[in-house]
Amino acid sequence: MSKQYKLIRCRINGKEREAMIDVRASLTDLLRNDFRLTSVKKGCEVGECGACNVLINGECFNSCIYLAIWADGKDILTLEGLEGPDGELSDIQQAFIDEAAVQCGFCTPGAIMSAVEILNEGRELSDEEIRIRMSGHLCRCTGYENIFRAVKKTMLARLAAAEKNK
């Protein structure tokens, strides 16, 4: 059978994009190869490690087990979409650095995107809830406690800032 392609249109990190893609591609393939968004890592490629995690319409998905064709019409956010206009780091990225939650860094982009999903809820999660919500990420450097601290710290800082601005 000849190769099958599909034209998809989606929003990636706030920009409208278009691509002609091979229907066999995963969303990881699309983001890395077509758009050079290399924060999206290829780890296990079977949906177990979370290294390829991105937000689609605000929810976390492992892009390695998400067909690229399904991205049509969706709003996708990768780690690259977090940086400020002059390349500044976002608060959650800075917190990962400050808490030494980054060691080799391979799991970091995926883990941060799960943190973003949590932070976007704008409410205070219990420690237990944070751990559950971050449980879809394997860190071979085993920095789990530091990752947890970075997420919690950022959540509390954002809530305090929102309180002040009331």
């Binding site: 591609a25 079977v46 949906g47 449980s135 879809g136």
Partner: protein, 295 residues
């Protein structure tokens, strides 16, 4: 790139049926968290797929005209867990599906995919068995309804006829009204793990909350397909709420279930756990129903 021979995207249920008729070799892909992984493993390499993931009409939870809870087959686990109807009427289903995989898997995984795989360890399955769920299947000849117990034929095989699509799962009003449930998953890890054993219990109490009016006990991984425990359920009916009753009913499940030895756990161990989690789930269901358990 996935090793896929051809992929057809369905825009509606009718479209899916037509595509499945045109391509009889094609397999259905919903969220893909099992199908795509199997393709990676080489098990289904070179398949033709009909994707139904884009059919939004199959998403969401609502009541139907008869008051049954209707769960669209493509509703994700995380949406089921967060749904107000589920939380009010059958919170145990939300709790059960919150134990599937990890958070990202719960966003992509669908209840229809979970049941159509026919896997005994599916966290949703034992709970759906306990609720006497009805599976809605739509095919070239129209719609048919099947009790979930008949939908599962054997390990990995469900009653899905050629060109048929599972479109919804229904929980009849008579099976949820007045019932309280609890699900216990026994696994080695708390996340990203498959159940060694799962037990889902529903209990309805008498009006004075002194005796068990009805009990439904279902297991996953206790046999090749999820199963109910008729002997234990018959024994439970009309019994007073006491630790003795709970113990007796829980032990009776061994007349009905047939766990096996596997590398995950030994048969004797599974039997021991089966009784213990039945006790706990019974106790919890009774307490949720407002019952008081005598020592």
């Amino acid at each position: 790139m996935y090793d896929i021979k051809a992929l057809y995207e369905a825009e509606s249920v009718e479209d899916a049926i037509r595509l499945l008729q045109e391509h009889p070799q094609a397999q259905i892909i919903a969220g893909g968290s099992d199908v795509l992984v199997q393709i990676r493993e080489g098990k289904r390499a070179g398949v033709e797929l009909v994707s139904i993931y884009g059919i939004d009409a199959l998403r969401g939870v609502c009541y139907d005209e008869e008051g049954a809870i209707r769960i669209g087959s493509l509703t994700s686990f995380s949406h089921i867990a967060a749904d107000p109807i589920i939380r009010e009427q059958i919170p145990v289903l939300g709790e059960a599906v919150s134990l599937v995989g990890g958070p990202q898997i719960r966003n992509i995984g669908t209840i229809g995919g979970n049941t159509c795989n026919g896997v005994t360890s599916a966290d949703s399955a034992s709970t759906l068995f306990a609720w006497d769920a009805i599976v809605e299947l739509t095919g070239p000849e129209g719609i048919r309804h099947l009790p979930i117990r008949e939908f599962y034929i054997k390990a990995g095989v469900v009653d899905l006829k050629p060109a048929e699509v599972q479109t919804a799962i229904l929980i009849p009003k008579s099976s949820y009204e007045g019932y309280f449930g609890n699900y216990i998953k026994y696994a080695m890890r708390e996340a990203m793990d498959i159940a060694n054993l799962g037990c889902s219990v529903n209990v309805a109490l008498s009006e004075d909350r002194k005796v068990i009016r009805d009990a439904r006990i279902a297991y996953g991984v206790a046999g090749p397909v999820p199963m109910r425990t008729p002997s234990a359920e018959a024994l439970a009916k009309g019994q007073e709420l006491s630790e003795e009753t709970i113990g007796k009913v829980a032990r009776a499940v061994l007349q009905d279930i047939h766990p096996r030895d596997s590398w995950r756990a030994a048969k004797a161990f599974r039997e021991h756990i089966a009784v213990e989690i039945a006790k706990r789930a019974l106790r919890q269901s009774i307490l949720l129903g407002g019952g008081v358990i005598r020592e």
